[in-house]
């Protein structure tokens, strides 16, 4: 299958591209390499050393004998989108190419506007290009579980049947996003749903949980293929950040009480889920929503688990610090989300294990000289 991975330089995109290439698909990467510029802007970096895209693609060809195409440019420029779509004519368009950090979107007005424009216009351009050039192409769009917020009822997958005053309908699940970033994904979802209905686009919206882990079968083959991993207060996410904090002797930074419950998954399951969606495409005109996660944890639970593993298995001393919460969010709430669509398609989850946590901490120890402790604390407040 001709599979295009937009955002193929990123934490999820790079291993996805390798995964599909390894399995014999024809893979092209689209990226504007902006994630590397954000590191510059924020003075942060990946825990692991990462190579240039050219080095990565060459290393992969050396290892596997498989070539991947690269289209370097920005989805917000339609001429660029039009030209690579015309050239590659993808059958599946896997769309990770968005600014994906909530704190980054909350830095200030410029970052909020940038995030929404970048994400929404990029996706609009992709939709128009599919309509014009490859109307049968399946759009697999990464959304986020954060679109739903924390409602006091179960979170269904994209839609909910509502009975009201003696009538009923199945309607889009109400959204209560947490940040300008999460809002941008809600805007995308509404735009995509509309084009499925109006133009017959086929789309799958993958509302992904927080991704942890680092290694996949392909990225660990060679240092040049290593995946990036973030630990800073802006791009670092809960579990990975805690493991790296434990490794370098930094307090585990829990925001507020830590009762915030979120959905999580192993990066290997990200690849598995995206593959399941790709190999089982949505119908023409169908807007399909899958909740892409395997387990739920509260932030405090994760911190306590990392502390236990670090102390018991690695002999480290770990302290959990409850920082004043920089975000506006409930710190104790009901949370129960459904994730049966991907399981029904055959997802075999890698549940969180102590081994994975220990391995992540050891990786962080190996690269601890690269860690800049000054960027770990949250620097952005919601208020």
């Amino acid at each position: 299958m001709r599979i295009l991975v937009a955002g193929g330089d990123g934490f999820c995109g790079w291993p996805t591209a390798l995964y599909f290439s390894e399995r014999g698909h024809e893979v092209a990467i689209v990226d504007n390499m902006i994630r590397r510029q954000w590191d510059e802007e924020l003075g942060s970096n990946s825990l692991t050393p990462i190579y240039s895209m050219e080095d990565r693609i060459n290393a992969w060809e050396d290892k596997s004998g498989k070539a991947m195409k690269l289209y370097e440019g920005d989805l917000t420029e339609y001429e660029f989108v039009h030209s690579f779509m015309q050239d590659f004519k993808p059958e599946a368009f896997i769309h990770y190419a968005e600014q994906r950090s909530a704190p980054y979107s909350m830095i200030d007005r410029e970052h909020a506007v940038f995030t929404q424009m970048n994400n929404v216009v990029g996706t609009l351009n992709v939709l128009y290009a599919i309509k014009e050039i490859v109307p049968d192409c399946h759009l697999i769009k990464l959304g986020t579980m954060g679109e739903y917020g924390t409602p006091n009822i179960d979170i269904e997958e994209g839609y909910i049947k509502i009975e009201h005053n003696g009538r009923e309908d199945v309607l889009p699940y109400p959204k209560q996003p947490f940040s300008f970033y999460h809002l941008s994904k809600v805007h995308d979802s509404h735009n995509i749903m509309f084009t499925c209905k109006s133009w017959g686009i086929r789309a799958t919206d993958l509302n992904q949980g927080v991704v942890y882990g680092l290694w996949t079968d392909e990225t660990k083959l060679d240092e040049k293929l290593y995946n990036r991993v973030d630990y800073d207060g802006v791009f670092g996410t809960a579990l990975n950040r805690f493991c790296i904090q434990a490794a370098v002797g930094h307090d585990l930074t829990v925001y507020g009480k830590g009762g915030q419950t979120r959905a999580f998954l192993d990066i290997r399951d990200t690849l598995q889920c995206v593959e399941l969606a790709t190999l089982n495409p949505a119908d023409r005109g169908e807007f399909r929503v899958f909740n892409q996660f395997t387990e739920q944890f509260s932030v405090l639970e994760l911190a306590e688990r990392v502390k236990r593993v670090a102390e018991e298995q690695l002999g480290l001393t770990v302290n959990i610090a409850h920082l004043e919460n920089p975000r506006v969010e409930k710190e104790q709430h009901y949370y129960k989300a459904v994730n049966s669509n991907l399981v029904d398609l055959g997802l075999k989850p890698h549940f969180l294990s102590d081994e994975l946590i220990a391995d992540l901490i050891k990786t962080a120890q190996r690269y601890q000289d690269r860690v800049k402790t000054s960027v770990i604390a949250p620097s952005t407040t919601w208020r």
Copy 2:
């Protein structure tokens, strides 16, 4: 009260500015005059002659002895927004300053992107400026009933209580917008709701129906104060367009079966509703949603009513044409929307009367030399 009317050159904005000025409020208008440029772009015009903003404001001062301030510029430019907010320090910000035509947003990719960027970024800038400069200012934002689409259950005002698997919550009402324009309003609503929660913004989202009519007590005082009224396939809306078509002997253009039911209101009620919202502001942190309409009609019902009034009262011959529907929408559907919030605040509706229809047709006859019949047919298709 210091009241700012953004979009004060438009069909709703101009009469709103006069209405508040007449009632002794301190009024400032913000507009970039782009609505007049869209007429140029589309080769269309207002049925009624409209004067320049300078002439309008001077004529109003001559008639009433009341001055209005004008800030000319674009809400997507933050320096401009910052400067007029700093200068005027509004207590109420009435926000009409958006691209408000569904067909315009569907012309092509550029118009879709323009509509979403213009509307979403403008509103983000207003939210940031309120937060920075006048945190107590009440944002009164014009949304649209079209945000809800046509669900098979009653449409509530912004929120709905959902019982699900033995639990319940009051959640944002699910949105199924019809066009990239309607989508832009949904994006706005989500962004505003988030800032109410996170920053304590006070906001009222007025989900307005289709506005008909033309004259208000103030706009009819002098030709220089006349309001614009649109009859073309892009900016013209159902009832007004039918009256003008009847006047010039054009078929009434019903799209498809005409069973599409929508919510409507008289422009005099737009002013009354906006006044009620302004004089009864939302609390800090409250995101209040009012459905702003007085009656529901199907498009075919309205066409038949215009035909009857035109034939019986004015002796015209009127034909109703069912055009192939350029839009993707249900032509027969359930529709029942709640509008009690504004009624509870004291709204006294002007229900649709045969007199108003006859008067609109007579106005159109008076200006029939201005009508360009070539712009009446729908020129944009959804597919």
